[in-house]
Symmetry: C2
Subunit: 713 residues, 2 copies
């Protein structure tokens, strides 16, 4: 649990500086200033004392094996210090020097690997390199050179921040401290060459003082550990909010030269966070925005918002924003409305949003009376009080008291939006969270509602899928026939077909299927047979089968492709083409994909990702996020689509790819044809890609490219 | 130009109160405090003097006809005051009382109309009722009861705010004044019963002191005046930023009870703003966010952003946000990169974004050197400096000087993102705009770039379309045949068809068209013939024509529909179905619609709206905003779609509906089939709806309903 890093008994500072504003000076200053109780050994070969403390000429000469080393020397000297610390029995070393793996330089990356290997050989862990350091304000072990701790006085508290970036370990700290919230942990892991961010998260989530976890991540390398930490966090009711930067190609390029981050596919990250109840923030303001609400222990059960304002315009703009953030306007009970009618001016409405109108200026008790009328109504789950303009003539202190009492009495999450700092301050003094920006106030309430739901949503139990045997061979892809057979064997609803090697067989198949058929060339070499014009749809007459068969044979000959035969299968129309797929992500493992299918899967890009195991309900929820979702229930007198078997197929596919992740790199079913409710679904095309483990000697493309290729048929 | 309202020579205050915190007291306080030079006549029948000024018992007894009356009395007394003011020769009256049209009460709305009629009869204008008042800090004529002007000291300046809401006339004022920006106008029009927001906008846009216009609108009733104001604004290079609240159904409901706002269809509002170069903001923070940048006179020509930071994480997050806001990362010249290489640590990259790394802590001249290296590079259009954490050890003052010099020397829009107020303050002192939130800083730069482009984009010249004659009749819709004929007559590419009244005619048509045909019942009673199953597609044999014909006849008989005949037309496949339509909006006039067509137009809702006249380029730009846009150029070896004739058709349809807006309520072409480039387009179904003016005796539905009906085929 990285005890030596978080609660060290003795710390050595290598490269200790007398100047408290240098990298080697700051940690010494912080250790003495923030109440660290352990022993500190500055190492500086050129000085007898550093910042008033006796200095040691080298690591070897410190009088005990320190739990933690802070290595503040740059470049090559840092590598040497790592060796010396490892030799001296240091348990964890924080390496602050930059210029290693993050530069993209081959030599520098190799040097980073050597450093780690040297440490590991001695049983020492490394945080960094390129780390701003660790800071534990619970123990005072502040092994960091951040400027922020000089700018904003620390206070121990319930928040833990773990970040791969130094700045992002302290920027949220600054914002939280500005709101009076205490922070216990503020750690920066830098290049994650050894100790990874997830490891550190797992360590701090067990700290009983931690009630909120904020993360900044540029690359996730060991999601299983982060998932384990998320389980503990949910058990402890500790929300996790995370920025995963490098969302875009440009961002990923920037991240590479910052912390040497490897790219994660962004939608897989989204699916991972969703699965594990982690809320994703976009910037530092979103990261800390809901902190106060989480820490109040507010865990709303519903999404029904009530709004009280002295501004009609604020009510209108609040109403406009609700749909965007997926909250509902609460309906007030008739009792509440009757009570409001006795308080409000005759021309005001008594429905939600409640506009106090300019009457608040003439009747200062109005505010309290309205909150009192609301406090017996259990028809809403959150309350927004929005007072964009108040001041002289308004008894804001009394409003603040009433709001605080309301929140305490009812347990309802209650926030205030106020543009004027003086107005906001009165509410904050009474412990009511305030926001200058009403849009932010509503977004933060919505985050609380949706995050709590995400944390508590039921999770699928892992259910073992069948292990399948792939046909022998070294080809990257299985043929369509081979793919369909494997899927059919595990019970997935594939189209019937015959693999025909002669015209006679094809004609017999036409007669067998009694009607329009499709003919498709079948070969492991043909992952994109449509693009090569090797598919003939809707063949309606037996003689046309002969024509199509010989045409396909011709085309194969011309293109020099050896095929296993021609697939003849019934022409299925159904109602709508979906895509269902799975692949094994190199970092996150099995991933399911479901969405609008057919020829334009990539161009229209209307898909959702899920991490198996999934429940049918999870698939249904994913489908509801698609742009084609309005079509699922049927429009314009159509019957609904048959979504249940689609969901079941997704569940099964998740089990299949999970059980066979060593063998299968990806499975792509496109199109999967969905009929009207009761008509079922049919997989009419399938492509299974072998894992590299399963095809020695085959040159592999990158997993991303493979995925793209697979989806492109 | 509402001179009497904005620069009155004498003001009467009806309902003047001795208490400066009452509605009738505030305007008196403000007129004396903010330097109003004209004459002020308080009217109060119960007092000899009010706030130290001699009071008059009634309006009749004031010694001159005042330009402006402030009517601060409530309810019925306000109506009486309007009568008295009209009688006394007042030119404009500001009515502050609420409880009129906005209540939804029939009697109250009638009272509002009577008030306006009484004023108009006497040649008096009314601002309000339900108005917080007008405030002109140029002349000191502050006829408002807002609390805000006590909270935040006014300063005359280049910004004008015009709002239908009182709060939203002063909330932006407060935020701007907080940034040190002066505000000249802050007007609230309330219910817009007489003087409308657009009228007031047109008045203030001519004020030569105004260089930025901010609007808050709940309902647009006279868009032509707002459009006229926008023309003046563009000529004067005055940006207009506007909130149009009531974007959603919930918001519209809230707006109705706030200012009595009539609903505007939100996408038409978007199209109107786009057409007139008005930037749309969502809340008050977005409304004022870019104010400093506009007022600096920055008008960037491109979207290439350069970023300088001391935080790699900020660079990564900036990169992530760029795509969202449609900015590009600038590529720095090789000269610049060479210059940077001499300044930055060896391990830092010399490409954009420029990460100064922790080296900034040890080398305080680094910042200035980097800006200096950048100042000769014309490869970027905007500069973001993001310093999330600085402070002790950082020479922030010198950075601020360097940034200010850079901005002045190069004219490049330059903004700073800094979380710490102390850091931001140093830059602000040097006149560099700052933002606590980096995401906001980038969004604001993007707004500036895109808004400038919007203001300066070429506009289509109005081009007269042909006036068409509709067939006689009282039906709400024309039949498909009638509709196609009219479109064909003005040169739009409609499908060839024959309207057949017998099986023999239908068979002849089949032979004429030589191949698969469609049969469709044709009647003005059949705007949704698909839903009634009165269409037979893809009839491939002449005998099948007979079957289809008699089947359609049967269905017509069973459903009791009198048809003009059965349309037989070639079955057109093309490549993609689009929808092209037009309607006459009751407020905004002709509106064009273009998008993904077919059966699911409404459910998939992938459309764009334009206000004619439009150029083909405008249509192309609108098409590029569709979700199906990636298909236009062809994907997966397909040729591109034939977009040019589609754009031309939209231009023509815009001319047609504009020239016939008195006759035609809507035109709906769905599907319009688009082939590959060079193959052209074909309108295969058309529906023209008569205007109510053109069909006396026919009960009309609301325009919105008509539109929905029309699009539903």
């Amino acid at each position: 649990m990285l005890e030596s890093a978080l609660n060290p008994k003795a710390i050595v500072v290598v490269g200790a500086s007398d100047n408290p504003h240098k990298i080697g000076g700051r940690p010494l200053l912080y250790l003495s200033r923030f109440g660290y109780k352990g022993r500190v050994y500055p190492v500086n070969p050129h000085r007898r004392s550093v910042q008033g403390q006796p200095a040691f000429p080298d690591v070897a000469s410190v009088p005990e094996a320190p739990d933690l080393a802070i290595i503040a020397t740059p470049g090559v000297m840092a590598s040497e210090a790592v060796r010396n610390c490892a030799a001296r029995g240091v348990r964890t070393a924080v390496v602050m020097a930059a210029g290693f793996g993050e530069t993209g330089d081959v030599g520098a990356a190799a040097e980073e690997r050597r450093m780690v290997a040297c440490a590991r050989a001695a049983g020492m862990r490394i945080v960094g390199p390129n780390s701003q350091g660790l800071a534990n304000f619970g123990s005072g072990a502040v092994a960091s050179f951040s400027t922020m701790f000089l700018e904003v006085e620390p206070k121990d508290g319930p928040v833990a921040i773990v970040s791969q970036s130094g700045m992002m370990s302290v920027a949220p700290y600054g914002l939280l401290r500005g709101k009076g919230i205490g922070v216990r942990h503020a750690h920066a892991t830098g290049n994650d060459s050894d100790v990874s961010l997830p490891e550190l998260v797992l360590a701090v989530v067990h700290d009983p003082g931690v009630r909120l976890l904020l993360l900044y991540i540029e690359s996730i390398r060991d999601p299983a550990i982060l998932a384990e930490a998320a389980v503990v966090a949910r058990e402890r009711d500790v929300p996790i909010v995370a920025i995963k930067a490098g969302r875009t190609a440009r961002g990923q390029a920037a991240a590479r030269s910052h912390t040497g981050a490897l790219a994660n596919e962004d939608r897989v990250v989204d699916a991972f966070f969703h699965e594990h109840g982690i809320w994703r923030a976009r910037d530092v303001h979103e990261l800390v925005g809901a902190a106060e609400l989480y820490l109040k222990g507010w865990r709303p059960k519903g999404r029904r918002l009530a709004v009280v304002s002295n501004s009609g315009a604020s009510c209108v703009m609040a109403a406009d924003i609700l749909q965007e953030v997926d909250l509902d306007f609460a309906s007030l009970s008739t009792d509440t409305q009757a009570a409001l009618a006795t308080q409000l001016p005759s021309f005001a409405t008594t429905t939600n949003p409640i506009d106090l109108t300019a009457a608040l200026l003439t009747d200062s008790r109005l505010f309290g009376s309205v909150l009192s009328a609301l406090s017996d109504d259990d028809g809403f789950d959150e309350l927004l009080i929005t007072l964009p303009v108040a001041g002289a003539g308004y008894d804001v202190s009394s409003y603040a008291r009433a709001a605080a009492e309301f929140a305490v009495r009812t347990g309802t999450p209650t926030v205030v939006a106020a543009l004027q700092e003086a107005v906001a301050a009165k509410f904050r003094e009474m412990g009511v969270p305030t926001f200058a920006n009403q849009t932010e106030a509503i977004s933060v309430l919505a985050q609380l509602v949706h995050h709590v739901r995400l944390m508590h949503r039921p999770r699928a139990a892992a259910s073992p899928g069948a292990v399948v045997e792939l046909p022998e061979g070294r080809s990257r892809f299985l043929s369509e026939a081979q793919s369909l057979d494997i899927l059919s064997a595990v019970g997935l609803p594939t189209v019937r077909y015959r693999l025909c090697r002669s015209d006679a067989e094809a004609r017999a198949a036409f007669r067998q299927f009694d009607g329009p058929v499709v003919l498709k060339a079948c070969s492991p070499q043909l992952p994109h047979k449509s693009d090569l014009n090797l598919v003939t749809l809707d063949v309606r007459a037996e003689d046309d089968v002969t024509l199509a068969f010989s045409w396909l044979e011709d085309r194969l000959r011309v293109q020099g492709i050896v095929a296993d035969g021609i697939i003849v299968a019934p022409m299925k129309k159904g109602r709508r083409e979906f895509v269902l797929g799975a692949r094994v992500d190199p970092v996150f493992g099995p991933v399911l994909i479901i969405g609008d299918g057919g020829r334009y899967v990539e161009a229209l890009d209307d898909i959702a990702l899920l991490l198996p195991p999934v429940r049918a309900e999870d698939v249904r929820e994913a489908l509801s996020t698609l742009r084609i979702a309005p079509l699922l229930d049927g429009v314009r007198k159509e019957p609904p689509l048959d979504i249940e078997p689609l969901c079941s197929a997704a569940v099964s596919l998740g089990q299949l790819v999970t059980a066979n992740a060593e063998r299968i790199a990806s499975i792509d079913l496109n199109p999967l044809i969905v009929g009207s409710r009761g008509e079922g679904i049919t997989i009419v095309d399938a492509l299974i890609e072998r894992s590299v483990h399963d095809r020695s000697g085959v040159v592999n493309t990158s997993p991303d490219e493979a995925w793209t290729v697979a989806r492109r048929r």
